[in-house]
């Protein structure tokens, strides 16, 4: 979904024009919710196993998925839940939907809930669209009569009028998605629980879903959306919540939560791989002892926000005399493409570096890098006759830039985006 460009000038944020609903009452009230899964180390699935080991208690691994979750979703609110994989957000949604039983705490809900955890649950591939729609709508709490009455609306929304009597197994997955989404929207429930299901379906249908989201939101329905996609949170949500490791990390404005989420996400990313390719030059008379990134406050960091000053540092210990030293320092992106490089080359008359000296290199730059992971590298050359590599560190110390979510490409240059429409006569 990331390829969908947000409407309007970048950075304007969709927050404008989004009216915060009149705070009336909590549609969903969650208090101290706990959920623990007991995962058996050895699943005892047959009587024989039971009979052979009657006294062996099945041993379980306790997986504490949700801990002390407390929050309210107000009536008419579009509420986003974000979190990394395995943070417990989907489990939370399933608890809200009444699919899992919580171990402690309470959930109170005012109004009828229509969960949309996965597409086409309960769809039977051997039945026609008509029959499936009726069954699905009854599952969502309508009577068969109401379901039949809304049937045309559903098909119209899904744009599938021509395929009413086609068996569902002959539908493409995109058509199934449309049908399932249409049933949910048309079921008329006050509270919608949606688990990022919109990743399927073509761009045009996604756009229709988004339009529908806006319409439902303006209509005053309460919507809880679980997603990875910060663009969606930014565009639609009144409030958002970040879950980390089964606990609420923040609840607040979408932008703020989104920034925090990206930060968390990339932190984990940079911890994951510390691939350092150091190429030391044999018999070198210098070595690059250290190389790091600092933020504006002078702290060594591995994640830096886009748009703020960034400082690249390197310390080179010289062991033997180096004639006409030249220092290069550069930034590579994840694919190894050089995004930025700078050098001391314009000053050939630099005095030789003597043994025992330590060169401290510092590059101050305005961080115009687009979001993503980067490596920094540094080298010391001796340029007296030919350029000889004295010391080299390549692809060292990955760091991550976050922010600038709507911009793709290597760099995020300050810009304004305008779309002018002219209608030809």
């Amino acid at each position: 979904m990331a390829e969908l460009a947000p409407p309007g000038p970048v950075g304007a944020g969709a927050t404008s024009g989004r009216t915060v609903p009149k705070r009336r009452y909590a549609a969903i009230e969650v208090r101290d919710l706990e959920k623990t899964f007991r995962i058996p180390r050895q699943q005892v699935n047959t009587f024989k196993e039971r009979a052979l080991h009657p006294f062996r208690r099945a041993r379980y691994e306790e997986l504490n998925v949700l801990r002390g979750i407390t929050f309210d979703v107000l009536e008419g609110e579009f509420f986003g839940i974000v979190g990394r994989n395995g943070s417990g957000k989907s489990t939370l949604l399933k608890c809200l939907a009444g699919i899992y039983r919580s171990d402690a705490g309470s959930i109170r809900v005012a109004g009828r809930i229509s969960p949309f955890i996965e597409l086409g649950v309960g769809f039977n591939p051997d039945l026609t669209a008509r029959e499936n729609v009726v069954i699905n709508a009854v599952m969502m709490g309508l009577t068969p009569r109401e379901a039949r009455a809304r049937f045309d609306q559903v098909l119209e929304f899904a744009e599938l009028q021509d395929f009413v009597d086609l068996k569902l197994k002959n539908y493409s997955s995109g058509m199934q998605v449309r049908l399932a989404f249409a049933v949910m929207v048309q079921s008329g429930a006050e509270i919608l629980l949606i688990d990022e299901v919109l990743a399927v379906g073509d761009a045009a249908f996604q756009q229709r879903c988004f339009d529908e989201f806006l319409r439902l939101r303006d209509e005053g329905r309460t919507i809880v959306l679980v997603t990875h996609d910060m663009t969606i949170v930014d565009r639609f949500c009144h409030r958002a919540m970040l879950i980390t490791g089964g606990e609420i990390e923040t609840i607040g404005a979408p932008g703020q939560v989104g920034a925090r989420y990206l930060e968390r996400n990339f932190e984990a990313m940079s911890q994951r791989s510390e691939t350092t390719q150091e190429s030391s030059v044999a018999g070198a008379s210098a070595e690059i002892a250290e190389i790091w990134v600092e933020n504006d406050a002078g702290m060594r960091v591995e994640t830096v926000p886009h748009g703020q000053p960034l400082h690249l540092h390197a310390r080179i210990d010289v062991h033997g005399r180096v004639q006409e030293p030249i220092v290069d320092i550069w930034v590579d992106d994840e694919n190894g493409a050089r995004v930025f490089a700078t050098s001391t080359r314009p000053w050939p008359e630099a005095p030789p570096a003597e043994a025992g000296q330590s060169l401290h290199v510092r590059v101050d730059l305005d961080n115009r890098l687009a979001g993503g992971r980067y490596h920094i590298g540094c080298s010391l050359l001796s340029g007296s006759a030919t350029l000889a590599v004295v010391a080299l560190v390549n692809r060292h110390k990955p760091f991550v830039v976050y922010g600038s979510s709507h911009v793709f490409g290597l760099v995020a240059i300050d810009h304004e985006l305008h779309v002018d429409r002219e209608s030809s006569a």
Binding site: N45, T46, I99, V109, A110, I117, V121, E190
Partner: protein, 284 residues
């Protein structure tokens, strides 16, 4: 779309998580019925002969058994209306074995419903039973035609047959719930139950009648609620001279045994399924 805006504050209700029932009785019934009817149609409408198969299965079994036992073994000569009795017994037993046999895997088969929807769990085994009931109803019409042609005189006791059927359905539903709930945790329920249905077939007076069994064994066999129901059907439907289940069981207090077992199976089935329902989604 009928969302009342500015309506009175909807009463907040507690979400307790999944349960055996829940979501209101109307929804429960609508779902059971819809799923059962859909299943019924899917089973037979895909094939060329369609619904005929539903009729053919018990009829074919009846044909084989009738030829073997009546013609080769000269088994039913002493029993009045043996073939009518055999037919009704087979139809009732087929209902029982089909419903329970299909119920075993039902909850596991509908995994996606259980795991991804707020869905009253008990609908699943019950809809299996209802599907078999539709079959039974169709078969009973055929049986009725058959026994009328064969010369069985209609009597007022025929009106009591629905009571027997009701109890049979309750017993079947009880077992269906026990089996489907157990199967989630114990996968060998299926082969065990397959053997058991065979055992029940011979342990129940289907091919024979209870009077031909040695009297000490009668009491044992009549402890089976299914045997009691079939014997009562025989008395009410086919042969008014038959002992009926009270007499066959050996009078008071012996006839209480099948009754108690039937009641126990139903309540235990309800209790067990209810008890297991909240955690089914996690155990699958």
């Amino acid at each position: 779309m009928s969302v009342e805006t500015g309506a009175a504050l909807p009463r907040a209700r507690e979400i307790h998580g999944p349960a055996a029932y829940g979501g209101g009785w109307r929804r429960f019934w609508h779902l059971t019925w819809l799923i059962a009817v859909t299943d019924y149609r899917l089973t037979y409408f895909g094939s060329v002969l369609g619904y005929l198969w539903a009729l053919m299965r018990p009829l074919l079994l009846f044909g084989v058994l009738y030829v073997v036992f009546s013609k080769f073994l000269r088994f039913g000569d002493t029993i009045q209306y043996y073939r009518d009795l055999l037919l009704i017994n087979i139809v009732l037993y087929t209902f029982f074995s089909e419903a329970t046999g299909n119920a075993v895997r039902s909850v596991v088969n509908r995994e996606s419903l259980v795991r991804k929807m707020h869905f009253p769990r008990m609908v699943i085994p019950l809809s299996v039973v209802v599907t078999s009931m539709l079959n039974l109803a169709a078969n009973l019409v055929a049986v009725l035609v058959f026994i009328l042609i064969d010369g069985v005189k209609p009597r007022w006791t025929w009106l009591l047959i629905p009571v027997v059927l009701l109890l049979l359905v309750a017993f079947t539903a009880g077992i269906a719930m026990i089996l489907s709930a157990l199967y989630v945790s114990y996968r060998d329920v299926q082969p065990i139950w397959a053997v058991f249905t065979q055992l029940i077939f011979y342990g129940t007076p289907i091919l024979y009648v209870i009077d031909t069994v040695p009297s000490q064994l009668q009491k044992v066999l009549m402890a089976n609620p299914l045997a009691a129901l079939l014997e009562q059907t025989r008395k009410w439907l086919i042969d008014s001279g038959a002992p009926g289940f009270v007499q066959a069981a050996g009078g008071f207090p012996w006839w209480l045994i099948p009754v108690v077992i039937l009641v126990f199976v139903c309540t235990f089935g309800l209790w067990l399924f209810n008890h297991e329902a909240p955690r089914i989604a996690e155990r699958l």
